[in-house]
């Protein structure tokens, strides 16, 4: 009896682990993208100085990486949109007790977070588009 109840925690977690993690995915992609942009720029600027070819390569590489990050976030956004299942019942409150509301709430929250992260990634990438030198 006691044992089954203790296993309850692991069962619920594995049941919903996907959607619980999903809340953090979009933000994490933003964070990784941010760190890679900053780290790569710091390394190229510090180690290769103002070498124009290197900076061009860096910008192209970061541009590609940005597209990859955006695609990743879009995928998370789509997955969470499906989990939210808004068009089924037009519910955006999720204020009731019950598995369905909890499930949809997690989808809704991570959908919104994907939007913010998407915008965040675009913001962060703007300097790559316009700046041509380290200084």
């Amino acid at each position: 009896m006691a044992k089954t109840e203790q296993d309850e925690e692991r069962r619920t977690l594995s049941e919903e682990a996907d959607s619980l993690w999903m809340i953090t995915f979009a933000g994490s992609i933003w964070a990784v993208h941010f760190v890679v942009c900053y780290g790569a720029t710091a390394a190229v600027c510090a180690k290769l100085g103002g070498d124009a070819a290197a900076i061009m390569t860096l910008r192209l590489a970061l541009g590609g990486f940005t597209l990859l990050a955006l695609a990743g976030i879009a995928f998370v956004g789509w997955r969470s949109w499906v989990q939210w299942d808004f068009l089924n019942d037009w519910n955006y409150e999720h204020a009731l007790a019950g598995k369905e509301h909890r499930h949809e709430f997690l989808g809704h929250a991570s959908f919104l977070l994907s939007i913010i992260s998407f915008i965040g990634v675009i913001y962060v990438s703007l300097p790559v588009l316009v700046l041509e030198t380290c200084q």
């Binding site: 006691a2 619920t12 900053y38 600027c45 409150e93 703007l126 030198t133």
Partner: protein
């Protein structure tokens, strides 16, 4: 079943048992209390006291600057005052106040009896108090730190006297308390919710606590890593920030601001959380856009980590790097704005009563918006180059902190006062306080925008009359006294005796959340019985809830064994899984805190033997406390508790079902972040310095290192295996593995040490050997802690505290060792392999 009345006799008996179990100690034993209502109150009052101290320093600064060429303060004293004003406001007021209030309120929001680790909160509070008094009193002796609250090297590393050491060690000590409280709060939100309160029904305050707790875990450790390096330089001359020997002061700025910027949001979000509780009550309707607010809280939590370099726009970083941070600084406006709009929308669709708390919230919205707008300005690098280090920035940061933290906090004090003390604060005095603060604040800080734009630099102790800053400064100084008057009126109202004042009504604001089901007059049991929750505003939406709670019709309405208990539920759906026995009053937390204090405070005087002694006693007290009070095996036949409503729950839990496992997991996330910061330092030196590692230098010895890593990984495998075979009931094998594990760990740590110590790596010569040593020391301190824990498990297995059915300690220690194993491998790669391929 819920509607069936409870027999009156059983009800009274249950109430009597609960009263007896949860009573607060009297007389001089009062200070041994660990209950959240006591600790929270002490914590909040101490933080308020330190705020008043820091406020007095602020006033003295304003007196000095009121007129040109003033000699009221000497330059050195002025430096000490502004350093301590900032440090105390940040470390002794803003963060502790969030934790104090959360410890005080959270169990109320969640219908829990107490926090999951009451003694940890008590330990955190005593650490905070000791550290706070130590740091604050340095001002009285004229030895306070004087290099600014950010302690930039080389100014702070070269500073004479012990001021910098007091800052580093005293505040590191307080950070320990902050992290302890963060762990407590996160586990509280995740595991101590009432049955039925699924994650989509949590009060918004709990969401914010979760986010802010997480931010503390990732923001504070970089500063701890920075403090570690900084103090090694101060005490032993290891040149981490000394450019002459390969170091770089910029590393400190990075580590400091990776902490320092999220810190601003760590302060801001909990206060917004208070607003998220006050606004629906004022509007008398559920909050609009619950999911949007959760998104904004989580989103702000993420984005705020991408802003740290905007404090470093003028340090000469590549402009492309500045661009990333400028853009991220603008992006964080979006989630911040969403929160404010959701509040405004709630107020618009509701029927607002302009209560006193709501007045403060309105003031907060006005001031914070102004601060946010100047924030958008200084987030633009070119504008920042102009305004950097002028009073414009002083104005901006005070607008955000006053609007984002102080005003919502004041709203919270007025709002929650009846919950905390069962009495109300004076409405008339409250209005006077509001107007004094609101007017005084603007009179003080609005002119600073102009003084800043006219070029007045920050942190100058005086200025000549010809600059044209005289009148503006005088106005600011007058305003500061109006603010001070406001706080004096507030303090008098807050602290005046209330013996004869009648009790406040039970739910004076007609709020919908669970904390307002509290008992008036006060009962210490938290809730009479733990309710079943099916809505976000149970007091509005669940009929007869409070009556049924009062009559003990829900869970845990009694305490037949006179043990303090609370419910533990699952993370997502809050299904009850355990009846947790929480700890009661004790001296041991105070003893542990005093000696922990010694371990941090003696090194400021370079008295290392007493510091080591204190550290030893502190560890011993913590072991004693854990051994005697945690993971106690219940007696036979009493291992299941009838919680009421046909719910039978185990009293013992291990692994992910237990709160202890979550506590270790969360603590180790923070610890791993600190280690990652050290590794970041290693990589940083490589990018920033052409001579890292210097040509021809020796490296850590590969053979020793590889063997050491192998032994430590084997130690991890032993403890991991021990947990598994113990569960299978193979007692003898378990003990063999538990003997092998610490022996392997000791051997591995020794080899790890020798790999560095036997190489020709003099840590005072260059930053490369210094950081290799630092990584090595960090690693073996952790393996050392791991050895103590492994021995604890061995003793547990021998003396019957750890059995095949009761293995919580083994689970927790194994979890710790997962992280140690990771640390060891990464450390081995960092100091063994990386320099050879760089």
């Amino acid at each position: 079943m819920l509607a069936a009345p409870v027999d009156k006799e059983a009800r009274d008996r249950g109430a009597e048992q609960l009263r007896e179990t949860w009573k607060t100690p009297k007389g001089f034993r009062y200070c041994t209390a660990v209950n959240n209502s006591e600790i929270g109150k002490w914590y909040a009052l101490s933080a308020f006291f330190f705020m008043m101290c820091a406020g007095v320093l602020g006033l003295l600064i304003r007196v000095q600057l009121a007129v040109p060429d003033n000699d009221f303060l000497s330059a050195d004293r002025f430096n000490q005052f502004f350093t301590m004003h900032g440090s105390a406001m940040m470390f002794l007021f803003a963060v502790p106040m969030f934790e104090a209030i959360s410890i005080l309120l959270l169990p109320g929001f969640l219908g829990a009896r107490d926090m999951p680790f009451p003694r940890l909160s008590a330990y955190g509070f005593w650490c905070f108090l000791i550290g706070g008094i130590f740091v604050m009193s340095s001002v009285l002796f004229g030895v306070a730190p004087n290099s600014g609250w950010f302690m930039y090297p080389p100014l702070a590393t070269e500073a004479e006297g012990m001021g910098s050491d007091i800052w580093l060690l005293g505040l590191s000590f307080i950070e320990v308390a902050s992290i302890a409280a963060a762990v407590e709060l996160i586990v509280g939100v995740l595991k101590c919710r009432p049955p039925g309160m699924r994650i989509n029904l949590m009060p918004l305050y709990a969401w914010y606590v979760l986010v802010v707790g997480g931010m503390i875990l990732f923001a504070f450790p970089p500063l701890i890593a920075g403090d570690f390096l900084f103090e090694l330089q101060r005490s032993f001359d290891w040149p981490f920030f000394d450019p002459e020997r390969g170091g770089d002061p910029m590393l400190w700025q990075h580590l400091f601001w990776i902490f320092g910027h999220p810190e601003v949001y760590i302060i801001f979000l909990p206060s917004i959380a208070i607003a998220a509780m006050v606004v629906p009550t004022a509007a008398q309707r559920p909050i609009v856009g619950y999911s949007w607010i959760v998104l904004s809280a989580v989103g702000t939590g993420f984005l705020s980590f991408g802003l740290w370099v905007h404090h470093m726009f003028t340090t000469g970083l590549p402009s492309m790097s500045l661009g990333f941070f400028s853009a991220a600084s603008e992006a964080v406006v979006i989630p911040t704005g969403i929160q404010l709009f959701a509040f405004v929308a709630t107020l618009m669709v509701g029927r607002v009563k302009m209560s006193l708390p709501m007045l403060f919230i309105s003031g907060a919205l006005a001031i914070f918006t102004a601060g946010g707008l100047t924030g958008v300005m200084v987030a633009l690098a070119p504008f920042d180059w102009q305004a950097h280090d002028t009073y414009f920035v002083v104005a901006h940061l005070h607008y955000t902190l006053f609007g984002g933290m102080v005003f919502p906090l004041m709203a919270g004090v007025y709002y929650f006062f009846p919950f905390i003390t069962k009495k109300t604060l004076s409405k008339r005095a409250g209005r006077i306080v509001f107007w004094l603060l609101f007017v005084g604040f603007n009179v003080t800080f609005l002119p600073m925008h102009l003084t800043g734009l006219m070029g007045m630099p920050r942190r100058v102790y005086t200025y000549p009359s010809v600059m044209g800053w005289d009148l503006l400064n005088l106005i600011s100084s007058v305003g500061a006294f109006i603010v001070a008057a406001g706080f004096v009126v507030f303090a008098i109202d807050l602290l005046r005796p209330r013996g004869r004042q009648p009790f406040a009504p039970r739910n004076p604001w007609n709020a919908g959340t669970l904390e307002w089901s509290h008992d008036v007059p006060e009962e210490n049991w938290g809730v009479r019985s733990v309710p079943y929750i099916t809505s976000r505003y149970p007091l509005w939406e669940q009929e007869n809830l409070v009556e049924r709670m009062d009559e003990g019709r829900f869970y845990l309405p009694d305490a037949p064994e006179l043990k303090r208990e609370t419910l533990v539920t699952t993370v997502l759906d809050a299904k009850p899984i355990q009846c947790l026995r929480v700890t009661g009053p004790t001296w041991i937390t105070i003893v542990a805190a005093v000696f922990t204090g010694g371990a941090f405070i003696f090194p400021t005087f370079h008295w290392y033997p007493p510091a080591i002694f204190c550290g030893g006693v502190a560890i011993a007290s913590v072991i004693y406390w854990l051994w005697t009070a945690t993971s106690q095996i219940p007696e036979k036949g009493k291992d299941v508790r009838d919680a009421g409503l046909s719910l039978k729950l185990p009293v013992y839990a291990s692994g992910p079902a237990s709160v202890g496992w979550w506590g270790v997991w969360i603590t180790m996330l923070g610890d791993a972040t600190a280690f990652a910061s050290l590794v970041f330092g290693f990589v940083f030196y490589w990018t920033a310095k052409p001579d890292f590692p210097p040509a021809g230098t020796e490296h850590a010895m590969l053979s020793y290192l590889a063997l050491g890593v192998a032994a430590l990984v084997a130690s991890w495998a032993s403890i991991y295996r021990a947990r598994i075979v113990n569960h299978q009931g193979k007692v003898a094998t378990t003990r063999t593995l538990l003997v092998a594990a610490p022996l392997l760990a000791i051997a591995g740590s020794g080899l790890f040490y020798l790999s560095v110590a036997n190489a020709d790596l003099d840590p005072t010569r260059h930053v490369y050997p210094a950081i290799v040593w630092a990584v090595m020391i960090w690693t073996i301190v952790h393996t050392g802690g791991g050895v103590i824990m492994q021995c604890y498990c061995l003793a547990g297995a021998v003396f019957g505290k750890v059995t095949p059915e009761h293995d919580a300690d083994l689970w927790n220690v194994t979890l710790y060792w997962h992280f140690v194993c990771l640390t060891v491998v990464v450390a081995g790669l960092t100091i063994g392999l990386m320099p050879r391929v760089m």
